[in-house]
């Protein structure tokens, strides 16, 4: 079965959300709300209530990065100092903990940030070619709904979107 992709543009969030609400209530049999992607110029503050909870794994990576940074920091500094025993200076020990804590703190933040950004790039699916259905009006002021469904659902969806005053509907067939 061939798959198709459809993008409908609405002039505001309310109309788009009404359309999603209809999909949620299975007005188009076979299409579920999980297939819906909302494309918008800003993030609507209550979008979860429309789309349902969708996960984001960024904070887990942050935690992982922070832990990596602080452990790596400690062992890196300590082992560097242990091989460089010319270090006893000013009557201080070879491995001075207070100053190492300062650097471990910096490394914690650095690694946490790098992991977070990596997680963002992966999680948000950046660095990919934009799909051909993208409309430049979305970055201006329109709200889009995109679905990737079997070809047979395209027509009923179109009808649904037109009911909700869609300004423009684009579709394409994926091979």
């Amino acid at each position: 079965m061939r798959k198709g992709r459809i993008l409908a543009l609405f002039s505001n969030f309310d109309e788009a959300f009404a359309a999603i609400s209809d999909i949620r209530h299975y007005k188009v049999p076979g299409v579920s709300v999980d297939d819906v992607t909302v494309i918008s110029p800003i993030e609507h503050p209550e979008i979860e209530e429309v789309l349902g909870e969708r996960p984001s794994h960024v904070p887990k990576f942050t935690l992982l990065g922070a832990l990596t940074g602080v452990t790596f920091g400690f062992f890196f500094l300590a082992s560097a100092q242990a091989t460089f025993t010319v270090q006893p200076q000013g009557g201080k020990p070879v491995i001075p903990l207070p100053s190492n804590f300062v650097l471990m703190y910096e490394m914690l933040i650095l690694f946490a940030m790098l992991f977070t950004v990596t997680a963002f790039v992966i999680g948000a699916r950046l660095f990919r070619k934009r799909k051909s259905l993208y409309s430049e009006k979305v970055s201006l002021d329109q709200v889009g709904i995109e679905l990737e469904v079997d070809e047979k659902y395209i027509e009923p969806l179109k009808e649904l979107f037109n009911q909700h005053q869609a300004l423009e509907i684009r579709e394409e067939v994926i091979k």
């Binding site: 242990a82 091989t83 460089f84 010319v86 200076q89 201080k92």
Partner: protein
Amino acid sequence: MSLKNVFTDWSRYRKGIEEGGFHDYEHMWGMAVDLNKCIGCNACAVACYAENNLAVVGEEKFYKGQAMHWMRIERYWDEPDLGEDRVKEFNHHGANFIPMMCQNCNAATCEPVCPVAATYHTPDGLNAQVYNRCIGSRYCSNNCPYRLRFFNFYSYYESSWPEPLHMQLNPDLTVRDKGVMEKCTFCVQRIRAAKDKARREDRKVRDGEFLPACAQTCPTGAITFGDLLTLHTPGGGVGETKVAQMWRDHQVELGKTRQTKQNPELRGYRVFEGLNTDPCVMYLERVREV
């Protein structure tokens, strides 16, 4: 990098100066300067210039404060503690002077601030300066309460020893280029030579076997140089050097911020020891007729 090293020797790496420090000291070079004997003749400073290839910067740069005087006679004309009236009288008795050279502190404030570890503490108890490693951040000089570190603001060698004066340069140590910090080393080249000689002859370095240029030159013998290591052992014993004997006589000890003397009449003191720098140079206070 060796993680295993960290775990096996952890307790050793955690020893600060209070627990004896990381080093097993071979020596602890130190000095005693008797200000009663010092006549302020500056011979020590001249000897230091000759021995250590110190740049002669010329009048203009000297006034700008860019001179290199590892060893200097500091001269003071007033003694505020005496009170207004006495200062005048004091002036008639002449200046007060003190020879200052790097105090080779055991808890040196200059060492931990160096970003590249160009200055560090040797097992000889010296505060060493590695010219090759120095990047010239000048933090060490800023953090030296004695202000005994000097910076090569220019490539002084270009004009400091016009021919044929360059022939007098000491071949045992380098001529420093611009951008590095330098300071008194207790004539480390002489220490090295003496240690090498002793090792070849399979013996220990004898007390008085060699002297730094300043001590060697001092016409009144005000500067005593030697090994302070025996100070740490109670009673001293057979190997007690002359300088250690002087420290012991004046009841001055290493590792203290304030000396507790049984006899307060004793003249020995260390400069700014209250700052906990633990300097290895002891001064004997001048006794004045007033």
